[in-house]
C-alpha cells in the first residue's frame, strides 16, 4: 500500500472499524512515515476539538424550557381554538377516534343486548341464580370500571387509551358516571360527569375543566338499553348466566373468599369471537367482587375492561343524579348528537352509508372486519370518504373534528350494534353482503328470526319485510350459506 491508501484508512482506524491486520499495518506504517503520522495527528487534534465542542454544547439544557413552552402554547392555542392556528392537530387520532368510540360503543353494548334468561339451563345455574337474587335486592350501588384500549396499525406506534370511571346506580334515581378520560389534543386526563336523564331522553356530560356541557340524544330503544343495561353489573351477570360458563372454584381475592365463573361465549360479547370474561363473587354475600373482560376486536385492537370496588347498598341522594349546568358553561361540539339507533331503521341507514362510502355492502358485519374496512377506506378513500376526511382535517379543533367524524359514522355504528344485538339475542342473523348487489329488489341481504316460523328480511334494495320459514327457504335456495 502507498501513503494515499494508508491515509484513506485513517478515519476508519480512528473509528475502530479496521480488522486487526489492517490496524496493525496502519500502525506499522505510521511509525515509519512522517507524512502519514502528521496527517493522523492532525485528524486526532480535530477530532478532540469536535468532541470537546460537542460536550460543551451538550451541557445546555433546553429540555424543560422547550417542554414548558410547548405546554403553555398548547393550552393557549386550545383556548383560542376558534381562531386560526391551533395546537398540534392530531390528524391520525381524529380519524382513529371515530373507531375508538366505535369500539367503546361496541364494548358497552357487548353485554347489553341479551335478555334471554337461560340461567336455569346452565350447570352452575343454581349458584349463579343465588347471586342474581341477592343483587336484585340491592337498591343503590357504586363501582369502578377501568377501560384500557390498545391499538396498533401497520408500522405505527401503538396507541393506548385509558378511561377510568366510577358508576353510581340507584334504582329510583337513575345513573351517573364520573370519568377520567384523556383529552385527544393534550393527552392530559380530563374529568367528566355523565348523567342519564330518562325524562328528557338525554345523556348529559359536564366537563368542568373546559366549562362545557354536551347532550347526547337518546331514542326510546337506546334509552331503555342505556338505562337498564350497559354497565349495570346485574345485567352482566344475567348475560353470564345466558352463556355457557365454567365454574372456576373458590379462591381468595383482596382478602375475600370468592367463587369464579368464566365464559368465552361469543354471544356474550355480541358476536365478538375473541373474548374472555371472568367474574368473581363473594361466597358469603353472593355479590360480585370483580369482573374482567378481555376482548380482541381484531388484530389491531384489544380491550380490557375491569369492574371492581363494588359498594352495595350505599346511601345516595337524589341530588347526586340531578345535574346543574353552571351558567358560564357552553355547549361543546358534540352537543346535540344522536346516540346510534339500534333499530332496523338504524341498520338500514347504516347499509345506505356503506353504499355511499364503499360503493357496495361490506362483506361482513363483524366489528373487527368493519373497522378494518373503514381503515383501508382511509388509505384509499372514495369521494365521500375524502370529503369526510377533509372536513375533519379542516375543523377548528380536535374536538370538532372528532365530533364531525362521529356524527358522520353514526349510521355505521347503528348497523354494527344492531347486528351485535341480534347475535346476542340468538336471533339467528345471517348476512349476505358478499353476494348482494345494491338495488336488487329480490336479493336477500340480512335476515333474522322474529318468532316461531317468522323472519324479518332486509333486501338488497333496502326494503324490509316479514316472511315465514317457507318463503325464507325459497329466498335462500341456491345461495351460499
Amino acid at each position: 500500500m502507498n501513503c494515499a491508501e494508508y491515509q484513506g484508512l485513517l478515519v476508519a482506524y480512528l473509528e475502530g472499524l479496521l480488522t486487526d491486520s489492517q490496524k496493525q499495518a496502519v500502525e506499522e506504517h505510521v511509525k515509519q512515515c512522517e507524512t502519514c503520522r502528521t496527517e493522523l495527528e492532525g485528524l486526532q487534534t480535530l477530532q478532540q476539538r469536535l468532541v470537546g465542542n460537542g460536550k460543551a454544547l451538550a451541557q445546555s439544557d433546553l429540555e424543560e424550557q422547550v417542554m414548558n413552552r410547548i405546554i403553555r402554547e398548547q393550552s393557549a392555542r386550545l383556548k383560542s381554538a376558534g381562531q386560526a392556528g391551533m395546537g398540534l392537530r392530531l390528524r391520525r387520532l381524529i380519524m382513529k377516534s371515530g373507531i375508538v368510540k366505535l369500539a367503546v360503543a361496541a364494548a358497552v353494548i357487548l353485554a347489553a343486548a341479551g335478555g334471554i334468561f337461560l340461567w336455569t339451563s346452565t350447570k352452575s345455574g343454581v349458584a349463579l341464580a343465588d347471586v342474581l337474587a341477592k343483587m336484585e335486592q340491592v337498591q343503590a350501588f357504586i363501582y369502578h370500571m377501568d377501560n384500557h384500549m390498545k391499538m396498533t396499525g401497520p408500522g405505527a406506534a401503538p396507541a393506548e387509551v385509558d378511561v377510568k370511571m366510577t358508576w353510581l346506580i340507584a334504582d329510583g334515581y337513575g345513573m351517573r358516571m364520573d370519568a377520567s378520560v384523556p383529552d385527544p389534543a393534550t393527552g392530559q386526563m380530563v374529568e367528566e360527569q355523565t348523567y342519564l336523564l330518562p325524562e328528557q331522553k338525554v345523556m348529559l356530560t359536564l366537563t368542568p375543566a373546559k366549562k362545557q356541557y354536551e347532550r347526547m340524544m337518546l331514542d326510546d330503544v337506546a334509552l331503555q338499553k342505556q338505562k337498564d343495561e350497559s354497565s349495570d353489573p346485574r345485567r352482566l351477570i344475567r348475560e353470564m348466566l345466558a352463556a355457557p360458563c365454567k365454574d372456576l372454584g373458590k379462591t381468595v381475592l383482596d382478602g375475600v373468599e370468592v367463587q369464579g365463573f368464566r365464559t368465552a361465549d361469543p354471544a356474550f360479547t355480541g358476536g365478538l369471537r375473541n373474548s374472555d370474561t371472568t367474574l368473581w363473587v363473594d361466597v358469603k354475600t353472593w355479590l360480585p367482587v370483580r369482573m374482567d373482560v378481555k376482548l380482541k376486536v381484531n388484530e389491531q385492537m384489544e380491550m380490557r375492561i375491569s369492574q371492581y370496588g363494588y359498594q352495595w347498598d350505599v346511601p345516595l341522594s337524589a341530588a347526586q343524579f340531578h345535574p346543574v349546568i353552571p351558567p358560564d358553561f357552553t355547549a361543546g361540539v358534540a352537543d346535540g348528537m344522536k346516540i346510534p339507533a339500534m333499530t332496523e331503521q338504524g341498520a338500514i341507514e347504516g347499509l345506505q352509508f356503506c353504499i355511499e362510502f364503499l360503493g357496495k355492502y361490506p362483506e361482513s358485519l363483524d366489528p373487527g372486519e368493519m373497522m378494518k374496512m373503514f381503515q383501508s377506506l382511509q388509505a384509499n378513500p372514495t369521494p365521500a370518504m375524502k370529503k369526510l376526511m377533509q372536513e375533519a382535517a379542516q375543523s377548528k379543533s380536535v374536538e370538532e373534528g372528532t365530533a364531525r367524524t362521529m356524527k358522520a359514522i353514526t349510521p355505521l355504528q347503528s348497523l354494527m350494534m344492531f347486528h351485535m344485538s341480534l347475535v346476542a339475542q340468538k336471533k339467528e342473523p345471517v348476512y349476505y353482503g358478499k353476494i348482494a348487489q345494491p338495488g336488487d329488489i329480490a336479493q336477500i341481504l340480512l335476515r333474522w328470526k322474529t318468532g316461531e316460523n317468522e323472519y324479518r328480511v332486509i333486501f338488497a334494495d333496502l326494503h324490509a319485510a316479514t316472511v315465514d320459514a317457507d318463503t325464507l327457504a325459497k329466498l335462500e335456495a341456491g345461495l351460499p350459506k
Binding site: A12, N53, G54, A56, M67, L90, D183, P184
Partner: protein, 179 residues
C-alpha cells in the same frame, strides 16, 4: 430503551406530548452546534434552538416521513436562523443610523466559534455527518443506519468533511494571524 424518531413522532401525534422530550434530548446538541455556527453566539443559538423545537412540535402533523425527522428539523432551524440573522441585520442598521455611537456589544462567542462556523459552512452532506457524529452522539454505524447509507460511505464522507474543516480552520487561522 431508546426508540427511533418515528416512534416518538407518532407518540406525539397520538396525543402524548411529553414524549417530545426524547427528541429534544436527542437533538439539542446537534441543533445548538448547527445554530451556533450560523449565529455566532451561544445565547442566540439556544434561543433559536428552542424556537426551532417548539415550531417543530406544532408542525409535526405536516411531517410526511417521520423517519426523516432530523433532516426536517434542520430545515426548520435554517429558517429560524435566517429570520434571526435578518432581525440582527435590521438591529445593526438601526443602531448605525442612530449615530449615538453606542459600543456594539461584542458578539459573545461560544467556546469554539471558529470550529462551529466551519461546521456551519460545510456542504450539507458533510455537515450532517459531522453533526450526527460529534453532536448527536452517534457512531459511524449509527449514522449509516440513520441516513440509510453504507458504512464505507459514512467513513469516506467523514474523511472528506475533516479535510474541508481543516482547510477552513487553517484559512481562518491565517486571516486571524494577518489581523
Amino acid at each position: 430503551m431508546m426508540e427511533n424518531d418515528r416512534y416518538y413522532v407518532e407518540r406525539c401525534l397520538d396525543g402524548h406530548p411529553d414524549d417530545f422530550r426524547h427528541l429534544v434530548r436527542r437533538y439539542q446538541p446537534v441543533l445548538l452546534a448547527h445554530l451556533a455556527g450560523k449565529l455566532g453566539s451561544r445565547d442566540r443559538a439556544e434561543e433559536a434552538a428552542q424556537e426551532t423545537l417548539v415550531r417543530a412540535y406544532f408542525k409535526m402533523d405536516t411531517l410526511k416521513k417521520p423517519e426523516s425527522f432530523f433532516a426536517w428539523l434542520l430545515g426548520i432551524a435554517d429558517l429560524v436562523a435566517k429570520e434571526e440573522q435578518r432581525k440582527e441585520l435590521i438591529r445593526r442598521r438601526r443602531e448605525s443610523a442612530c449615530a449615538s455611537v453606542e459600543e456594539t456589544p461584542e458578539p459573545e462567542f461560544s467556546q469554539d466559534f471558529s470550529l462551529e462556523a466551519a461546521v456551519a459552512a460545510l456542504p450539507e452532506a458533510y455537515r450532517t455527518v459531522i453533526l450526527l457524529r460529534y453532536y448527536g452522539g452517534l457512531s459511524c454505524s449509527g449514522i449509516a443506519k440513520q441516513l440509510d447509507m453504507p458504512l464505507g460511505t459514512v467513513t469516506k464522507t467523514l474523511s472528506r468533511a475533516y479535510a474541508l474543516l481543516r482547510d477552513s480552520l487553517q484559512g481562518r487561522t491565517v486571516s486571524e494571524v494577518q489581523q
